[in-house]
Symmetry: C2
């Protein structure tokens, strides 16, 4: 049923301003030719008129016209344009929050996200990486591995309408591996690819963790040398430096899965249990040590082996590791090379050896690393490593590969902790406003001219008092205000006011820069 | 079971190159000091050595060492690092394609996508719009309307692990409406927001249509005037012009839902059936006319009414519409104002009145428009309109609103048709290469120095023949090649070759710009 105009005014208080003419005292605006310091009457754009939809409907049948007209009560103005939907539709207010664990990005959050992504992109560009992306919805099979990873338990999976098991990607690497296999010999190695994609994990929302985050990935496919890992860590360090994070804020713990592997080999642990053991060890700081030991034993490691394993994992010095494992093995050789390269790259102070780092993904095979905040308050900032065997688990030919993932959540927490979140304001070059409703077309013309020159213009789309326009100009952080007034317009001019200085000039339309 | 080294060579032919030293004749490289025109032996980065994981494992038990060592066959080099996963894991090759109806973005596709999005963003910026985003996964309720829309039938919905009905968003507007309600009085109107987001529709894949696409949206919340619609169309025209599309390639069909509304009012069609009628009419070009008529009658429109309705819908001239509807109604007044503003904005030649345009979404209430290719080969390129009543359907207070959606699919088809897809190549400023494996750290140092100056560097991470390096330089479209050779390095110099001209110089490390 149609609402009557007065109830509409209550329902839509914001619309008051458009429904009746009003008179306002204007703030002083020092343009002699504009005579703005007198009160100015703002006409409404279109006077209310009775709706008579049947007038001139000469070629249409006039059946039920009276009833129709009666139903709409001959109501005035735009308020009668469409009746509100029946009450039954509006009773229940929807939940205005995004689904649990997800985020909206209002302009201020979006500016921060864009700033972060821009830094991800810029660093990736400086390292010669090419951007790629994959579907956020992938076949579930791509993420199912047999190692009891946290990521598998938290898979956001379901059956689609075609009865296919699909999942919102929890990470990007398996999709990348899929694409590399698909491309086969058509690409020249090495590939240096980066991606910034949204990833999903269905977690219990107990720790304030979200169910989605964006992740910056950089991957190098086709390089077996540790130079690849060194290059990746260098890119993250470069990123940190760009955004003001120093080596006293964060560091990288580095180890190699080959350390564990060499130890396990001594205890006849079958190779195919290796990743399971890694997943268990990754939980060392999350669950009680007894639980870890129990889980390790259940995979077949002897009690003695478990103790020795935990002893090796406590090593924080490469020299000590070498003492135990010898210098001939790959674990020590890889790590020594990485630390030597770090020195050349110039980020030695950022990295340290820590045998307990194994990372929580099943597919790592060599160097693994993890960015952490030195105050120890936050979860891992980023992490990655070598995964030379991932492609064959999908039936492809293996290629040497390494990469990292860098989420958009923990880094923002860190930036907040350090007071390093940049002030990112909306900034518009021009705000253009007609001083008269008849000049709205002229203002549109001015806006078009400026935009053709690449300038940004916030065009005032309604008749508004100058006080409102100044407030708007401040909100959009405009550099200058361009007023289109009748007398100037007739002379092909507009009034240009630099808002920071208050300096004001008349400028010819074709000289507007 | 571990593979023996020779079978590994067969399994991983790409790796051959890393497994044995090789001798190559190098292309002539005219640096006298580098003496590169002699054949150069590339050492492998690390000589194969027998794995003896138990050496120096003094503190570890040596149980089963012999067995372990035997299992790994004392194999050489990196190939013995990890055994391949058991055969059972590799038998089935996964589907290397992205799920049906979805896309991967390899670097070349990603460059096109980034180019498109950059143009979306740049135009939005020029119009003073702020970027926003919402979760790709929303509550299903947000998209369920009662009008038989195509979009509802194609909803990609499912139950999550918490038994909530959720859906991959098929469009962005409902999320935007949700956020606007959530923000309430905390935001100053008008809001000018844009978003670029992925949207999902579960369609039968019969027409080569995909199940996901990216959509550029621009919305203005809080402006009841037609100036808002005029501004939105202006932004799309600006976008088209930027990418080389002209008014002879595309046009906009414009109408208003108020046209239909004014006609329906004559036939006593209840207001709440209005959107259903619109949805039926939107299918006029897709299903037979008889079917349309039948569906219209089933909503309660008389036979006579249906005929008159279809007659009005065939009108392509605003003058003719005015003749029939009269000039007092809002439909005609709005449209006249829009056409008048189009002239001032400078895009008259792009737009035409077409009463048959109603758009397929239930929530439009006023002006609706649709971008189409003039050759008539493609589906609608973009579309939008006014939706002043959407917020109240979610239990919020209505606000005047209009916006459009612009997909990333049809526009690319059009660009291809017109030969307007830009050539977007990877472009790296420097390729840096060590001439000796011992200088890889030095090369890393050079790369770091250049990157600190904001330059992009593709660092060669392996020992490769110069021929390979030149090929790589061409592939990454490098501006210059920087070679780090032993004798120059000792003098603090590197060799810099401009690849387009062949010009080559020695440059001091600290003078490298």
């Amino acid at each position: 049923m149609p609402a009557n105009p007065s109830s509409l005014l209550i329902l839509h208080p914001r619309l008051n301003v458009y429904l009746k003419p009003f008179v306002l005292s204007l703030p002083h605006f020092s343009s002699p030719s504009l005579s703005l310091n007198r009160a100015r009457r703002f006409p409404i754009p279109r006077p209310p008129f009775p709706i008579s939809p049947t007038r001139n409907l000469s070629s249409l049948s006039s059946t039920s016209v009276a009833q129709s007209s009666g139903e709409n009560g001959g109501g005035g103005g735009r308020s009668g344009a469409l009746s509100p939907p029946p009450i039954t539709d509006v009773v229940q207010k929807i939940d205005v929050n995004p689904p649990k664990g997800t985020r909206d990005f209002a302009p201020e959050e979006m500016r921060l996200r864009n700033w972060l992504f821009q830094n991800f992109r810029e660093v990736s560009r400086m390292f010669g990486f090419e951007e790629v992306d994959f579907p956020v919805l992938e076949s579930e099979a791509l993420f199912i591995r047999k190692a009891g990873e946290e990521i598998r338990d938290q898979l956001y999976c379901f059956e689609d309408r075609g009865n296919r098991r699909v999942a919102l990607r929890p990470e990007l690497t398996p999709s990348l591996a899929r694409l590399v296999i698909q491309k086969g010999k058509s690409v020249s190695l090495p590939l240096k690819w980066f991606a910034i994609g949204q990833c999903w994990r269905y977690e219990r929302m107990t720790r304030g963790r979200r169910r989605e985050h964006y992740q910056w990935n950089m991957d190098i496919i086709g390089v077996p040398e540790v130079t690849a890992e060194a290059e990746l860590i260098s890119s993250i360090v470069t990123f940190f430096k760009r955004i003001g994070i120093t080596a006293s804020d964060v560091g990288f713990k580095v180890s190699s899965r080959k350390v564990l592997q060499e130890v396990l080999r001594c205890y006849s642990i079958p190779e195919n249990l290796f990743s399971k053991v890694c997943i268990i060890i990754d939980k060392i700081e999350k669950i009680p040590l007894d639980e870890i030991k129990k889980e390790l034993k259940s995979t077949g490691v002897s009690e003695e082996g478990v103790e020795e394993l935990l002893q090796v994992l406590s090593i924080k010095s490469l020299a000590k590791l070498e003492e135990i494992l010898g210098s001939a093995g790959e674990a020590v050789a890889d790590l020594k090379q990485l630390f030597s390269l770090a020195e050349k790259f110039g980020y030695s102070e950022w990295i340290e050896f820590d045998a307990s780092v194994v990372r929580g993904l099943a597919y790592y095979t060599g160097i693994v690393f993890e960015g952490f905040d030195r105050e120890g308050k936050l979860r891992a900032i980023c992490g990655g490593g070598r995964y030379d065997r991932l492609l064959s688990t999908f039936g492809g030919e293996d290629l040497p590969a390494c990469g990292f993932g860098f989420g958009d959540a923990v880094i923002v927490e860190l930036l907040k902790e350090r007071g390093l979140v940049p002030e990112l304001n909306l900034r518009v070059e021009n705000i253009v406003c007609a001083l008269d409703v008849d000049l709205q077309g002229a203002a549109a013309r001015v806006a078009s001219i400026l935009r053709e020159k690449g300038q940004s213009v916030d065009l005032v789309l309604e008749s508004k008092p100058l006080k409102w326009v100044f407030k708007r100009a401040a909100r959009v952080n405009a550099y200058r205000l361009i007023l289109v007034g009748s007398s100037e317009w007739q002379r092909g001019m507009v009034s240009v006011k630099i808002l920071s200085s208050g300096e004001q000039n008349e400028v010819k339309l074709d000289e507007l820069e």
